[in-house]
Symmetry: C2
Subunit: 316 residues, 2 copies
């Protein structure tokens, strides 16, 4: 019975602390990890017909919720997933889920799916699209130590799918597993035209021309990183202080990337991590550089005390 | 609470009859649709780190279970998913799930996943890999009426992922939705080199040279279809009866495909469906051909009374 399944699920739960989950299938929020489930016939599960996004919870604020929310709505549209609610209602439900969780420092993850109904390929018989959200307690430890990355041998997704944050992350998983097997932090995808694309779940950036120019690969064929874009905006402060000359989004070849003065990984869970080695080559002097550090400080400050456009207060 | 979630899930269940579900997370089989759930933190759900396969249940026998089971084990290996049990135990659990369901005509679907544990990208912290299976009551109605297909504009998966039956089926879903929007039965994927690949969840075959040669695109860059391969074996009977001259697996160009005498879709849920129109071109005389009919008859007979190698008796 579902009661018995619930009991057994209780025993099976992992270490991470899942504090609250919202499901539109049951139209409610639960704080019982054993109830943090979804139907097997949800098309997100058996066909990968679902998209997701995240937002950090920092000191009781959701960081860049609106930017991530806009992105999941774009992803849903590209994946032809109708919205179960309008944008404001989705936003309200997400904030409410964090509020119910009582979590002031952690991460919020949420999914839009074609929904349950059957095990067919087409969503034409799906009952209704669904929204799921979960709050996870995470200690958001900043690690400034430089890491090694490797070039990923896993085929990169076609742009039409790389730009959609869908749950079809098997390529990303295999790229991450390949990097870990080589003792690296992440794998870097390179496009067929030889330009640097992105990591498995983060963007990359470089500092070139004597440490004076910040360059980031264009977002056309990769996932449009919210944190990466915020970093580009914040980086202008370094230009006005003369620490940087320019900030550019442009194609970067692997050759130029490996000859950069600095390289860094940028992603909401990271948020900025220096890269000191790529495959066999050391980047710059093979140690953490000043620009990555300066950008990290700007980002952390933004997370703690940035403008309302990037920080949404959670009413507990 | 999980009890309340269970109750609400009961209300949310769709039309299709889900008769029994096995989950290794709870180490048991349930016949309560409300309990046919899985943890949201299963990496199959949030990262698509899961593979699946199917088998038809016909007159109390599982059709081609071993062939499909071998395929999911290959998929799991390619997706770097360790097995929760050995092959024989998986097979025993699948048969037991069908037995508990009491279903004599339906379909069995099953998944292998990296398992629950967290919401990270890497499976390194997953608790243990999981097996799920579900029995669905389906009336296996054979429809001999010819259909229309269209060339899919959705980017085809790289071969490394097309040959793995993972839950990363968003491309397949979008291809199916595109076809449905054009009033077609399915979309046909064409490889970059111009050769015909496959449909969204089925293989294709052609009859050429005056209706005497059955040709099927090679399986190197597409999913290795169990039913398609069985059809190739059965087709030899038509050769020995002089109905066909040869049966070949070879590259087929779109041009040759569209000039074929017959075209057909082959998949376990179909099992053979004539195609009478591809985009704007009619295939052959634009009506159902004799070879598709003859192959369908052979396949149906195989399903009903084929050798033990393709029919596993379910002990109810």
């Amino acid at each position: 019975s579902s009661y018995e399944v619930g009991e057994r699920l209780k025993l099976a739960r992992g270490g991470q602390q899942f504090l609250a989950m919202y499901s539109s299938v049951v139209d409610g929020i639960t704080t019982d990890p054993a109830a943090m489930v979804l139907p097997l016939d949800d098309h997100m599960v058996h066909r990968g017909h679902g998209v997701f996004d995240t937002a950090l919870i920092i000191n009781g604020y959701l960081y860049e919720l609106d930017q991530h929310l806009d992105r999941i709505l774009r992803s849903a549209s590209m994946a032809k997933i109708p919205l179960p609610f309008d944008r404001e209602t989705i936003k309200r439900i997400l904030i409410q889920t964090v509020s119910v969780s009582g979590c002031r420092d952690g991460s919020l993850r949420y999914w839009l799916s074609a929904g349950p109904g059957d095990f067919l390929l087409s969503p034409s018989q799906c009952l209704k699209p669904t929204l799921y959200a979960i709050v996870i307690k995470t200690n958001f430890a900043i690690n400034p130590i430089g890491v090694k990355v490797v070039t990923s041998s896993i085929p990169i997704k076609p742009p039409e799918f790389a730009t959609v944050k869908s749950v079809n992350y098997l390529p990303n998983v295999l790229s991450q597993m390949e990097a870990e097997a080589k003792g690296a932090y992440a794998g870097i995808w390179v496009c067929k035209d030889g330009f640097i694309a992105e990591g498995p779940n983060m963007n990359v950036a470089f500092v070139v021309n004597g440490g004076k120019e910040l360059v980031m690969p264009r977002f056309d064929n990769v996932l449009s990183g919210c944190t990466a874009k915020r970093t580009l905006t914040l980086a202008e402060q370094l230009v006005s202080k003369g620490i940087l000359k320019t900030v550019k989004v442009m194609d970067v070849t692997v050759e130029d990337g490996k000859k950069a003065d600095e390289m860094m990984l940028i992603g909401s869970g990271i948020p900025i991590r220096p890269v000191i080695q790529w495959d066999e080559e050391f980047i710059g002097e093979g140690k953490e550089g000043p620009i990555a550090k300066a950008l990290l400080d700007l980002l952390l400050e933004d997370m703690r005390s940035g403008p309302p456009s990037v920080r949404v207060l959670v009413p507990y």
